[in-house]
Symmetry: C2
């Protein structure tokens, strides 16, 4: 009979083994390094926000995914209606933070990054996480913010994906005003009512944005999108054909821009084209290579609050993963919280999803199982003080060092070192070694060398 | 009329301004560095655990503080009884993790660190946080774990507080078996019923541990403790006097150990004294200086599951803060989750409380407001490409660089740099400079120097 509580984590939540965690941390550190090199300030907002703040900025979809939080009385929630909840993204906490501190405590343009976990009570589904890391940068202006910042985002992202180096990638860019202009020109309504299945799979009538139909193109296919525009939004076959023709415009950035310039739709459309052209020009002067970005008119990020430039990023060979890094320009970050106009532009790497996918597809491999570079074996109780002194000297030189403290046969100790993939092992015993010398085994090559104790740090980390 | 949602965070939660966050991150990085130098593996458990797991390991006090988590339907909790909740410490998730993976996925002795936020729905009170960082290390053995590990904990902690360097500190140590032996000898019952005020301040009868009365000595004073032992636990005045006399034993570690050895109580007591003596001996061979630790018989950590060595750490001049780093030895980490016997020893730094206290008392000061080392001013639109190239070269050399992108008068740009306390500013304009030279201003000294573009990185970071 098993009376134990089963030790596992809730489904949809992620936890890594130590060797996976090390690799995850490596990617996270690359991202943080690039964000800081570009002068973004690290911010950390609490794990919970007031529910009314989250609800104020959540669209209908997001609202259904919010996890409420409250203390318990006799195992039940104290209140039916929670006051606090787990944020579903890092943008709402940013908006609240900037509104709270924009009276002089922070400086504009405010450049912040946050790498943190967010929570969404998603339906159980492969590849959907209920807790996941986002790695966000945003620049927030007070009153205005030049388009140069829209070009800066891909430049930062380029540096990161280049260093991660797992795959070729392309940052696909567009401008929301182009679609808004097109839809106005074609008299497409902004929203329409459609049937969607809810969390339990029951059909439910919901209000959808017409723009977001385009976002479903890669997932649902061309036929579905055409049918949805016709039967859902209620467009004529002629209008649908015009939209689909428009979305199929492809080519180099100059070709696409010149195709776009040939349309005579309206001022909004032209403004979108001009902005896109200007941003791409800045990216060129920021030395972002031509082959890592392109215009993609099928990108709208329709569910979000973007008003200009939009980005998505796909990895070659990992298209099924969808966008690993998305974002855009918004006119008004915090209008719900303060009267100041705070335009901004930001981009977010979906770190958990990216890492999970790359790991499962063998695109990244876990290596060492421990930060330890060298282990000092416990061969002779009388030398313990010497083991500790050597370890202290190595740590002072920045070398992660473990002393094996348990009394075990040396075979069992070396097995532990091999299993944890510790690169070097140090043997000191009273028989083989004088107090000033030890043997260091390199577990990669299998070779062992006699090294003077005073030289071990230098031997391991030659300058 | 103000129709804005008020932008603030829930009370009891902590959020820092960017310059405070930088200082907090510096402390956190020192802790993580030392933990890794000693070969502890970083672990990250999810923000939530199954509620039944938390309840299984929570004492009565902890249970009342658990935050339940559930999704919402029409703004109300979907369930009355949550399935998941926010952990109140990092030890329960560790126990669950080790039990879950002890069948070969992790290696023993398992050395892990976790620096993460935990949550407790505490009553509002000065200095009490509902969300706070703990920085934990634990070593978990399979079957057994030698006492040397008990000595390793203070050695790691010593390195950290030495590097943080804000105050002298003392690690106060004791062994639970000593108190257990004493209480058995004096026939003190393990628990007693006492009246305590609940979350709303109403009196409530609760079961208390007799040991934890001793823990209240620094907070409630000697008189209260004596009265509680007499009226609460129901001890005779003679027994109370014996306990108080015992707790007042002080002196060097040798003096205290020899006082303890003079008692003839029972085997358990002697075992506690022997263990304490052995651990202190190992600490000496680990080069922990004599003046940073001492035996303190008033330390019991009575509310916790410790069975041997116990630690508390106080900072000189900051005694009101209480212990900033506590922990101990436990016989059985995960008996509720698996049949393996997993003894361990661990210690935890209360990072949020420590940081908050040091900041409010001026013991640490915030410095720079940004990671940026140098800002390139936007003086001439025609040179923008040159600004970007220089910035890219500096970033490649590991120098955090910002290019001022907004078109503003140079006065406003330099004001921004000064406000953000960026140490260096680079001026390049077509009039004053040829393309190969710029001026660098050092904002600390106010001096400006002409430097060749090719030499800027070297000038800023001389090797």
């Amino acid at each position: 009979m098993n009376t134990h509580v089963k030790p596992d984590i809730p489904s949809g939540f992620v936890e890594l083994l130590p060797e996976e965690q090390m690799e995850f941390d490596r990617l996270k550190a690359i991202i943080a390094k690039h964000y800081e090199l570009h002068g973004f300030l690290r911010l950390e907002t609490p794990c919970v926000e007031r529910l009314n703040i989250l609800l104020a900025k959540a669209n209908e979809e997001d609202q259904k995914l919010i996890y409420g939080v409250d203390t318990l009385v006799d195992g039940k929630f104290k209140r039916q209606i929670p006051k606090i909840a787990l944020p579903f993204d890092l943008t709402v906490p940013l908006a609240r933070y900037v509104a709270q501190h924009c009276g002089g405590e922070i400086d504009f343009p405010f450049r912040r990054y946050q790498i943190d976990r967010v929570h969404r009570g998603e339906r159980k589904q492969a590849g959907r996480f209920r807790e996941f890391y986002q790695a966000d940068i945003d620049v927030i202006g007070m009153g205005d913010l030049p388009l140069l910042h829209d070009a800066e985002m891909p430049a930062v992202i380029h540096g990161i994906f280049q260093e991660i180096g797992v795959a070729k990638y392309v940052i696909r860019m567009n401008n929301r005003k182009i679609h808004n202009g097109l839809f106005t020109h074609l008299q497409v309504p902004e929203t329409y009512r459609a049937e969607r299945s809810d969390e339990e799979g029951k059909p439910q009538e919901v209000v959808c944005s017409s723009l977001s139909v385009i976002d479903l193109l890669p997932k649902k296919g061309q036929e579905w999108v055409e049918r949805e525009f016709q039967d859902g939004v209620g467009l004529s076959t002629d209008t649908v054909r015009k939209i689909m023709d428009f979305l199929s415009i492809e080519g180099s950035k100059d070709e696409v821009i010149s195709s776009l310039r040939s349309f005579q739709f309206n001022e909004r459309f032209d403004q979108g084209v001009n902005e896109l052209d200007e941003v791409l020009g800045y990216m060129h002067s920021l030395d972002v290579p031509d082959d890592v970005y392109r215009i993609d008119l099928t990108i709208t990020r329709g569910l979000n609050y973007y008003t200009g430039t939009v980005y998505e990023t796909t990895l070659h060979g990992h298209e099924s993963l969808g966008s690993v890094c998305s974002g855009g320009r918004f006119d008004d970050l915090a209008g719900l919280f303060c009267k100041q106009k705070l335009p901004g532009v930001g981009i977010s790497i979906g770190l958990t999803r990216l890492f999970d996918h790359l790991l499962r597809h063998g695109a990244i491999e876990v290596g060492r199982k421990s930060p330890v570079e060298v282990i000092v074996f416990n061969m002779d109780a009388s030398l313990r003080g010497d083991y500790f002194s050597l370890a202290a000297a190595l740590r002072a030189a920045g070398i992660s060092t473990e002393v094996y403290l348990v009394d075990r046969k040396i075979d069992r100790q070396t097995k532990y070192a091999v299993k944890k993939r510790i690169p070097y092992g140090i043997f000191m015993d009273a028989k083989r070694h004088t107090k000033s010398v030890c043997s260091i085994r390199n577990y990669d090559t299998g070779q062992e060398e006699l090294v003077a104790i005073a030289d071990v740090a230098q031997w391991l980390h030659p300058h």
